[in-house]
């Protein structure tokens, strides 16, 4: 339920032309075939009473409130389950129907607590609404005990940290169960028992918290009563106002209604008109917003001369003047290239744009990089080389048209859960699935889903496996040669290369560990099953050949003609909400906004004219180069916008040494993060609830981020950047963030049609958005590639230098899980830690057994660069020889272990392959020894 309601049409829309004309209560309406009478009525402006129907779910027909009369039809059919037919004449309001509906309502109310005035859903309850709509004035059976047997003494389940389940208020409409099935796809809920004993249950005899529930909130949203209710609503009361904005977590970029009482955020409700999520959410976006008001937030600027000094709270003016003065002093002493900045994918396009402008126009260099360096920079390189632009090819909706889905190096159910729900829906409808991943991720086998092929390859062998798939496609005559001939270049050379014997599945089987027959079968499926769509994540990019794999996947799509239409494509699942946007905005040291190289005279001229300063035509330092240059002394000052490089970047010891070597570190963040330990200036940032701007998600969708409340620190982050620039002697002023977007649109051809006013009018757009595509571009490369012809690239497999050895015999791969997010700065400050209070090391039972490790033991994890201690989870999801952990908790410091190996083209760290050893920790050994020395107590003692 939600207070501020979008229209609910009762049943989902049907695709196709509106060709069926019906007359409902005398109103003629024409709708697509398959549309329900209920929906047709709503489209005609007529509301039919309902309880079990809502338009996010298929019709169920259980409540019997939506009965109608149809000329020529017997009885009173349910309008939700009755499809329209040509010429149908329907009546929704008759005396007979009114009597039937009141009868139904009487039964519901006779078994419902009549505590409306004190109920948390008062004013936001469909049961309450329907009692009014149907004109219910008396309940002949009485209510509660006087009505006889009832459910009003059922216990409330308060185990979930975010919502309560009060079974006494349940009307058994099954909306929650169906939402879990149809929308989320977890199938955690069920109706337990029969007849009168039927009740909603989260698994067999367990609480919500103990069940398979992933707390996406779909059930809470679907519930028409107070049965499933947010704890925040119970505690604070119903919200009174609502602001539509965009989630601050992953690259799906869900739209939400932030619902508030005054300035207090009560809840986040997924927005039905959100293009990315269409009304769905996950546990992070839906519930984990408490960090924004956490007491740990830095609320005032702080300074210190040395990182060993205590922080001193100062005024904004002092912080800005100090920062500007020190940056200029360092440049005067060490040269213009001695300073730089890192932008964040958690800030808005407008905030990123002004930081890169500050670097280029005020610092006078190109030393600006972004946290995409450590995640999707290979996507930028690989897709630009092959297709001509650095972005995914599809909108999320496209997956609904896919016939075969190839997921490689991604774990969408954890990393991109709302998109995963779309994908799972398509898989339940019958699309085939190929998973390429060392781990048996949940998608491989989960309720109603099973991958046709799970190619469980050895970490670091993506290129070999992708090439082997392409080899099969080419040598078995499965390629779309007409597409390649018309749309691609380098065809003959590539076909010759990929057909070489060393690329065959048989030749690489020893390298990848995947049986050749499985690769051949997967290749045949991808090439022949119809629309083939590739989705990938950091398991592709964070490798020494991350860029090569991206190009290899582009080769696959081009070779099979799976590009340029619905249901196909090459789709990066971006890690953070604005990875795409931060890259679009010119955060890379070699590119101006819109992916134009700094050596492009024409592009530079646009900015030189507008900004009034000459711009450097040479690339700047990347993040790892900044660290190396800090250690060699040529790089002396760093401005870090909203990124915790001291925790998130690999080889922590090296990063810490680099940060400690700098003369000035300025951190702009919500919290005093790990990087701030090396900072001289700490500038408080704004949460997504305070920002005013845009985020661009993984499907290139530009969404508005609207201020839900005023900045708690008194300033927008872009204002701080402008003031630093001003203090450094360069006037930079904007009246609003809308003006910044206007400048972006004026200077960036792919954004030419974007403005806040346009976004407010149409909701969101996917770039390119310009005169050629005023409403944006959901699918790219439809009639030609951005670069003209698609480029097939010879992607030679080169093994990583990181190898397992006798000393470090296992391979560690890292990732993230559903409830936590990246370095955990946000989610660790919410109740999400209830699901994941610490980083865990997953390893195969064999690897555990030979080391004497039991499930739950503390173990020492070491690589050639460092060591840490964490708890072991013995899991058959892991293959023998490979272990896995997350990097959500600074106390674990998982990146102490990872090395500074990187992608050859972009220096994206090789997080996914580190040779390690695992052993029982000394503390665990001591516990074992102590237990062993205790006297054995027997039953007879």
């Amino acid at each position: 339920m939600t207070l501020l309601k979008e229209p609910d049409f009762g049943t989902p829309a049907r695709e196709g032309a509106a060709t069926v004309e019906v007359t409902i209560d005398g109103v003629a309406v024409t709708v697509p075939p398959g549309t329900s009478v209920m929906r047709a009525a709503k489209e005609a402006g007529l509301d039919i009473p309902k309880l079990c129907a809502t338009d996010s779910l298929e019709a169920f027909g259980s409540c019997r409130l939506c009965v109608v009369e149809i000329d020529g039809a017997r009885g009173t059919p349910a309008s939700c389950t009755t499809p329209v037919a040509p010429g149908m004449v329907v009546r929704t309001q008759t005396e007979k129907l009114g009597k039937l509906r009141r009868g139904v309502m009487e039964l519901y109310i006779s078994d419902h607590p009549l505590d409306c005035l004190t109920c948390s859903a008062n004013g936001d309850c469909e049961l309450q609404d329907m009692a009014g709509v149907t004109g219910l004035r008396e309940v002949r059976y009485g209510s509660g005990v006087e009505a006889g047997a009832n459910h009003m003494d059922l216990l409330k389940d308060t185990s979930n940290p975010y919502f309560d389940f009060d079974a006494s208020k349940c009307i058994a409409c099954s909306r929650c169960v169906r939402a879990c099935d149809e929308v989320q796809g977890t199938l955690a809920l069920t109706i337990e028992g029969r007849g009168f004993d039927s009740k909603v249950a989260a698994g067999a005899g367990v609480s919500f918290m103990e069940s398979d529930c992933v707390s996406c909130g779909a059930c809470v949203q679907a519930c028409p009563t107070a049965t499933l209710q947010e704890k925040s609503v119970v505690a604070l009361g119903m919200p009174t106002r609502s602001v539509v904005t965009t989630c601050a977590y992953c690259g799906v970029g869900c739209s939400f209604k932030a619902e508030l009482r005054g300035d207090e955020l009560v809840r986040m409700v997924p927005y039905k008109d959100g293009g990315a999520n269409e009304g769905h959410s996950c546990v992070k976006g839906r519930f984990a917003f408490g960090y924004a008001s956490h007491p740990d937030r830095v609320m005032a600027p702080m300074l210190r001369e040395s990182i060993t000094d205590p922080w001193r709270e100062v005024s904004w003016d002092e912080a800005i003047q100090f920062t500007a003065r020190r940056l200029r002093e360092i440049q005067a002493e060490h040269g213009p290239g001695s300073i730089g900045a890192i932008t964040s994918s958690r800030t808005t396009n407008e905030e990123v744009y002004v930081v890169q402008k500050m670097v280029r126009a005020v610092f006078g260099n190109n030393n600006v990089d972004t946290c995409a360096r450590v995640c999707h920079s290979p996507t930028g390189y690989g897709l630009k080389q092959t297709f001509g632009t650095s972005a995914g090819t599809q909108d999320f909706k496209s997956v609904a048209k896919a016939d075969v889905i190839l997921v490689i190096g991604a774990n969408p159910t954890d990393g991109h859960p709302v998109f995963a729900s779309r994908m799972k829906r398509r898989l339940r409808q019958g699309a085939k699935l190929i998973v390429i991943d060392p781990r048996r991720i949940d998608l491989v086998r989960s309720p109603h889903i099973e991958a046709e092929h799970h190619l469980q390859l050895a970490p670091g062998t993506n290129v070999a496996i992708v090439n082997a798939i392409a080899h099969v496609i080419v040598t078995e005559g499965l390629a779309d040669r007409e597409f390649m001939r018309e749309r691609c270049e380098g065809v003959e050379e590539w076909e010759t290369f990929i057909a070489r014997p060393e690329n065959s599945p048989e030749a690489v089987a020893d390298i990848t560990g995947v049986p050749a027959a499985d690769v051949r079968a997967a290749a045949r499926l991808y090439a022949t099953a119809g629309n083939g769509a590739i989705y990938y994540g950091l398991g592709v990019t964070e490798h020494s050949q991350g860029s090569t794999t991206v190009m290899g996947m582009a080769n696959l799509a081009m070779a099979t003609g799976n590009i340029g239409r619905d249901g196909v494509g090459v789709n990066p699942l971006r890690g953070q909400n604005n990875v795409q946007g931060s890259c679009d905005m010119g955060s890379f040291p070699h590119e101006l906004p819109g992916y134009r190289h700094v050596s492009d005279d024409g592009a530079r001229d646009v900015y030189e004219q507008l900004w009034g300063v000459p711009l450097l035509d040479e690339p700047g330092l990347r993040i790892p180069n900044m660290f190396d240059s800090a250690i060699d002394g040529s790089f002396r000052a760093l401005f870090v916008q909203g990124e915790d490089i001291a925790q998130s970047d690999p080889n922590t010891t090296h990063v810490h040494a680099a940060l400690a070597a700098l003369d000035l570190v300025v951190v702009q963040d919500l919290f005093e993060n790990e990087t701030a330990k090396f900072a001289h200036v700490l500038l408080p940032g704004t949460s997504f609830l305070e920002k005013d701007g845009t985020f661009t998600n993984a499907e290139r969708r530009i969404n508005r981020v609207r201020p839900v409340m005023a900045p708690k620190t008194g300033k927008q982050e872009w204002e701080i950047i402008c003031e630093i620039s001003q203090a450094m002697g360069y006037p930079m002023h904007y009246d609003s963030s809308a003006q910044i977007m206007d400048e972006i649109a004026m200077t960036t051809p792919t954004f030419a049609g974007v403005s806040f006013a346009h976004l407010d009018r149409v909701g969101s757009v996917q770039w390119p958005c310009n005169d050629a595509a005023p409403e944006g571009t959901p699918i790219m490369h439809e009639n030609g590639f951005v670069r003209g012809k698609g480029r097939l690239v010879e992607t030679v497999y080169v093994p990583t230098q990181e190898r397992s050895t006798r000393k470090f015999p296992l391979i560690l791969t890292t990732g993230r899980i559903l409830s936590q997010y990246n370095v955990g700065a946000q989610t660790r400050r919410t109740a999400n830690s209830a699901w994941h209070p610490e980083d865990l090391l997953e390893l195969h039972p064999h690897d555990a057994e030979v080391r004497g490790i039991n499930d739950g033991d503390m173990v020492a994890l070491s690589s050639r660069v460092g060591q840490t201690t964490l708890r072991a989870v013995v899991s058959e999801r892991m293959p023998v020889g490979v272990c896995y952990t997350t990097f959500h908790h600074p106390v674990t410091g998982a990146n102490v272990i990872t090395t500074d190996n990187s992608d050859w083209a972009t220096n994206c760290p090789e997080y996914k392959v580190t040779a390690v050893q695992v052993a029982l920790s000394s503390a665990q050994v001591a516990v074992r020894e102590e237990l062993a020395q205790r006297p054995v107590v027997t039953a007879g003692d």
């Binding site: 070699h590 050596s599 250690i631």
Partner: protein, 74 residues
């Protein structure tokens, strides 16, 4: 600290070079040079050239050749 004693510009140049090793030597060296010109900050290219000038120890021959191609522009 860094996991290797090889200077970063040498390690990184070698990693680029090996990716083009399947191509004819001169074609590959030109591709490596283009990559370094497009993506490397000038001080890194200068460090590479200086390393080549001092004997180029540990540097892939193709990276050495790429550095030579970069020299006029450096």
């Amino acid at each position: 600290m860094s996991t290797t004693t090889v200077p970063p510009h040498v390690r990184l140049a070698n990693e680029v070079a090996v990716q083009f090793a399947h191509q004819p030597f001169e074609v590959a060296a030109a591709a490596v040079a283009t990559h370094l010109r497009d993506f490397w900050e000038p001080r890194m290219r200068a460090a590479l050239l200086a390393h080549v000038a001092s004997g180029g120890e540990g540097l892939d021959p193709m990276a050495v050749r790429a550095a030579e191609l970069l020299r006029p522009a450096a």
